[in-house]
Symmetry: C2
Subunit: 125 residues, 2 copies
């Protein structure tokens, strides 16, 4: 007897796709590229904010900005295979990743990645 959670289309936690060796290389490259771009963005913004500091409130605004961005980045960039379809889905939705960068992943990964990106887009609308 097959339980519903063990069927092919069930939620990935019960039936996670297997990542092949070549898919892991593609995933790592895409992940690092998106993270690198996001960090570059934060560095540029921090330099801009710092250059414009005139009073102590500007100083603590910069601290607050950095703390928020660090926490957000820590949460978002979770490189566990059980989380990667959500991570990439979010990055696609945020336009931090282009579909082409995921080229080479199997449809069993691309489908849930696209689904999650669409889910976020619908809920943001």
């Amino acid at each position: 007897m097959t339980s519903p959670s063990a069927t092919q289309d069930s939620y990935p936690y019960q039936n996670e796709p297997i990542w092949s060796r070549s898919e892991k290389v593609i995933a790592r490259t895409a992940f690092d590229a998106a993270l690198g771009r996001e960090l570059h963005e934060v560095i540029q913004e921090a330099k801009r904010m710092a250059s414009q500091i005139q009073q102590s409130s500007d100083l603590w605004d910069l601290e607050h900005y950095l703390t928020q961005r660090r926490k957000e980045i820590d949460r978002k960039y979770d490189y566990r295979y059980s989380q990667l379809t959500h991570v990439f889905g979010r990055l696609l939705y945020e336009k931090r990743l282009r579909q082409e960068e995921l080229c080479g992943l199997g449809e069993d990964k691309l489908k849930p990645i696209r689904s999650f990106a669409e889910f976020l887009a619908e809920h943001a609308a």
Copy 2:
């Protein structure tokens, strides 16, 4: 019968000096000047650190520096009359305040301020 804690030379919490109107003006001015100088120092250092950021670890070093300095400044600059002799003592010890800036305070304030500065100097040595 006089309890030991009520005598003239007892610890200030039991026998705090009264700050006159003119002493309060001197205290506020000295306090604000020292705080302003310390904040200026942090602003300059934050600008310097930000201008040299090259990688993410530099970014989080800046965040950590700002958080530490904010907490330290919050702790140090405590403008309650019950705390001011300790505050000024520490600022003298750290050379963030010159003795002349306290000129006009009564000896009942200057004496514990100098004592605390000397106490810190001895314990740092």
